[in-house]
């Protein structure tokens, strides 16, 4: 929905026209054996994982394709009370920033780690748009294991995109902002506001992220980006808008120029330049949060320095390619030869040639400069234009068979075109107003090329009405033949933007089933029920609790007072797949915990009133799950009820046999 305002002026007319036309009905577009193509029989697996950004829910959801079944929601940038993410003591530090603990963000883009330009299925990177951060999700545990805040950034939209071997995750700024102290007049945009690109290096073995350097560009909006492939391996491409440098009413003022730019950046040369000791270290503050799988605890560290390079010193490393009408998508085809710009307001799709770009650079065939950065001549670097593709091109994915698939927001369709000849060969309607689209692997060297999914911005009448707020609508098309065929509608949670798809075979056999309790290095682990205990230190009470079908130990606790800080460290002693236990306690203004087999997780509770506080297992675990319960007695502050705890014959007041 966020794009809607931008298009209101131009869009109103176009939409009116569209609605005037007779839209194809669902019946007329669903042909052939759609049901057979999407039916995954009970007990059978889907062929693809589909990782879908959660948009305004801040999470990542995982669907199976072709069934469209929701398999999991991975909490990333938003708290998730249903499993305790952001509430447990272990995960609270994941959401720490220099502005404190932030329980929400806006998650737009995802990318699966690459080796030689192909998906390797090790990690999934996710951006936070609002408070700029990049997260890394481990695709063996489907857990968020690292979150890195980005200094000198705002509106982390052009993010996270990868170089071909996951050397770097690249994150560009949508909002230009003043670097350092931001207390300057807004009207001083042209003098003071800058856009930046962060190059985040990725440790080859463990995936750990670090900001290697940041490139400072003139103030403008960096929209989306892509790494080169094959011949263009050393390059990175960014779409831009608002090169007019407006700071108000961008809807009009950032659309004045006929062309904005695609920034082409030779990251390999910049990397060499940095290695030669260049760049300026700048004092900044940003949070770097890391989940240690061994201790099962996240730590948040505040980092203090970043290496910054101004574009003015990067001669022969950055060039501008004119691109019509505020380009949005900036997509590189599987061969690495073609760069597709999608001007949101353009009635054509320009396709640039990497060969021509390198030749034009060598010949210094420039039309001018933008803040000292050479601007290429449009015609010199253009492979050609896709004419009359539809209205409002946004994003392009590829099938690996020589075709591009471009989403058309205004005319609500996917258009398939031939990359060499630039001819439109097919088009299908989407319901309604498609934003991103995804072909599994369709942004890599090796697309899987069987399906394309449309992530639509408007749902309207696609599902049973649920009041004013509707689920978002995704549509699955079979693209294995010449014609695209709509085969499935499925509702999605949150508000999907970009997504990634990957063959299940790359990931499924590496999936973690449980944590070996012998390797549990949690500070508060309880190694067996015999070790279960309650320890008071001043007003801090640590409960070392175990969970196994079907009891929590200890399950009777007395001698806790109002205002005590009670930490329930619950260790799940189970060592079998899919036997989590839950933990919740009455009146806790917090959340529950889900504790996976072999894990220890901690919930803090500060009782405010004396009384009896039942606690229980919240995840149905066995026939006697309902019996998996206990009591915490809370006495007034200053009373002399002694600390006692136990279970069965060791429970307070129960005489041993």
């Amino acid at each position: 929905m966020k794009k809607l305002l931008m298009y209101t002026v131009l869009g109103a007319g176009a939409l009116a026209t569209l609605q005037g036309c007779k839209m194809k009905s669902t019946e007329s577009v669903v042909t052939g054996n759609a049901a057979a193509k999407t039916y995954v029989a009970p007990g059978q697996y889907d062929e693809f994982y589909n990782f879908v950004s959660g948009g305004f829910n801040g999470q990542v959801s995982v669907y199976g394709l072709p069934s469209g079944r929701l398999l999991k929601i991975i909490p990333v940038f938003s708290v998730f009370p249903e499993n305790g993410y952001g509430y447990s003591e272990e995960t609270k530090p994941m959401l720490n920033t220099t502005a404190g603990n932030i329980p929400w963000d806006d998650q737009h883009h995802l990318t699966i780690s690459l080796t030689n330009g192909e998906q390797d299925g090790r990690w999934l990177f996710a951006n936070a748009n609002n408070t700029p951060r990049v997260a890394r999700i481990d695709l063996t545990s489907f857990k968020t294991v690292e979150i890195l805040q980005l200094p000198n950034s705002a509106g982390n939209h052009s993010s996270p995109y990868l170089t071909e071997n996951t050397e770097y995750v690249i994150a560009g700024t949508r909002f230009s902002v003043p670097l350092g102290e931001g207390d300057v007049p807004i009207s001083s945009f042209k003098e003071n506001f800058k856009s930046t690109v962060s190059f985040i290096s990725i440790d080859k073995e463990h995936g750990n992220m670090n900001i290697a350097f940041q490139v400072v560009l003139p103030g403008m909006d960096l929209d989306l980006s892509r790494g080169g492939k094959g011949p263009s391996h050393d390059w990175f491409f960014f779409s831009t808008y608002n090169t007019e440098q407006a700071h108000t009413l961008l809807e009009v003022q950032a659309s004045e120029k006929d062309k904005d730019f695609i920034v082409a950046m030779n990251w390999k040369k910049i990397e060499e330049y940095v290695k030669s000791g260049k760049g300026k270290k700048v004092n900044v503050e940003y949070a770097h949060n890391h989940f240690n799988e061994e201790t099962q605890h996240a730590e948040s560290k505040i980092e203090n320095e970043v290496l910054v390079l101004d574009h003015s010193e990067l001669k022969d490393m950055i060039y501008m390619i004119p691109c019509p009408k505020s380009p949005h998508g900036c997509d590189v085809d599987p061969t690495g030869q073609y760069i597709v710009g999608s001007g949101k307001l353009a009635a054509l799709i320009p396709v640039f040639s990497f060969d021509k770009l390198t030749k034009a650079i060598a010949a210094k065939d420039f039309e001018g400069e933008y803040y000292g950065i050479p601007v290429m001549k449009y015609e010199s670097v253009l492979h050609g234009e896709v004419k009359k593709p539809g209205l409002g091109p946004l994003h392009t994915e590829f099938d690996g068979k020589g075709f591009g698939y471009t989403s058309m927001f205004l005319s609500s369709e996917i258009v398939k075109w031939n990359i060499e000849t630039l001819e439109v060969v097919d088009r299908v309607p989407t319901y309604y107003s498609i934003g991103h689209l995804c072909i599994p692997g369709g942004d890599t060297k090796k697309p899987w090329g069987k399906y394309v999914i449309a992530y639509n911005k408007i749902t309207k009448d696609r599902y049973l009405p649920t009041g004013p707020e509707l689920a978002q609508a995704a549509q699955l098309y079979d693209i294995s033949g010449d014609k695209m065929e709509l085969i499935l509608d499925y509702p999605t949670v949150g508000e999907p933007h970009y997504a990634q798809g990957i063959s299940a075979s790359v990931i499924k056999d590496k999936s973690v089933k449980l944590y070996d309790i012998a390797k549990n290095k949690h500070k508060y682990v309880t190694m067996g029920e015999k070790e279960a205990k309650v320890v008071r230190t001043g007003n801090r009470v640590d409960v070392y609790m175990t969970a196994i079908r079907s009891h929590l130990a200890p399950d009777n606790i007395e001698g806790v007072y109002v205002g005590d800080e009670v930490y329930f460290h619950v260790t799940n002693l189970e060592q079998d797949w899919d036997i989590p236990h839950g933990f919740a306690i009455k009146n806790n203004p917090n959340a529950e915990l889900l504790i996976m087999p072999g894990e220890t997780v901690t919930l803090k509770f500060v009782p405010q009133k004396p009384g009896m506080y039942p606690f229980y297992c919240t995840d149905f675990c066995s026939a006697l799950h309902q019996e998996m319960q206990g009591y915490l007695r809370v006495s007034p502050k200053g009373s002399n009820v002694p600390l006692k705890f136990g279970i069965g014959e060791t429970a307070p007041g129960v005489a041993a046999k």
């Binding site: 190694m527 067996g528 070790e531 079908r549 009891h551 002693l573 060592q575 036997i579």
Partner: protein
């Protein structure tokens, strides 16, 4: 496994294969088979097999007991078993361990602790215990070595208390 059991299994497997390969067109025989009331998850006439089901068919016992294994077995017991099994003859969640090495063959014990799901599916003795305890014994993911150590610890527990 009795002959009857094997025959039943073969028949079921064969028919389900047929149904599968027919792609649902099905002939009447299969329809009759599948239309029968669903069988209980618990085998009705299970075959007697005092070694249970699993890979352990011949466990060699040590004499005298192996102290190293006893210590290792106790460690496993404390973390993975003690929450539900006492060392005397009282049932907690599962049965007390006293006398277990007299009631069960060593192979049965090793198979049960390493291969819980198949045992609960097929072994009549294991199923009888499930009906008493009403909680499926968790698969605690013991390695073969850990299972053997636990057996040694059980033997020591039985000898000690006699």
């Amino acid at each position: 496994m009795s002959t009857k059991h094997i025959l039943t299994t073969t028949f079921v497997l064969a028919t389900s294969f047929l149904v599968y390969s027919c792609g649902g067109e099905g002939d009447k025989k299969e329809e009759t088979t599948t239309a029968e009331a669903p069988a209980s998850m618990v085998e009705e006439e299970p075959a007697a097999n005092d070694k249970g089901y699993g890979k352990f068919q011949n466990v060699e016992l040590t004499n005298p007991l192996d102290e190293g294994m006893i210590a290792a077995g106790k460690k496993v017991y404390d973390v993975k078993c003690g929450a539900c099994h006492k060392l005397n003859d009282e049932k907690l969640v599962g049965p007390g361990w006293l006398g277990v090495t007299e009631r069960r063959k060593p192979e049965w014990i090793m198979n049960f602790v390493t291969n819980v799901d198949e045992m609960l599916e097929k072994d009549p003795e294991a199923q009888a215990m499930l009906e008493v305890c009403m909680v499926r014994m968790p698969n605690q993911n013991l390695s073969d070595e850990e299972a053997r150590s636990v057996l040694e610890f059980m033997r020591q527990n039985d000898m000690q208390k006699q």
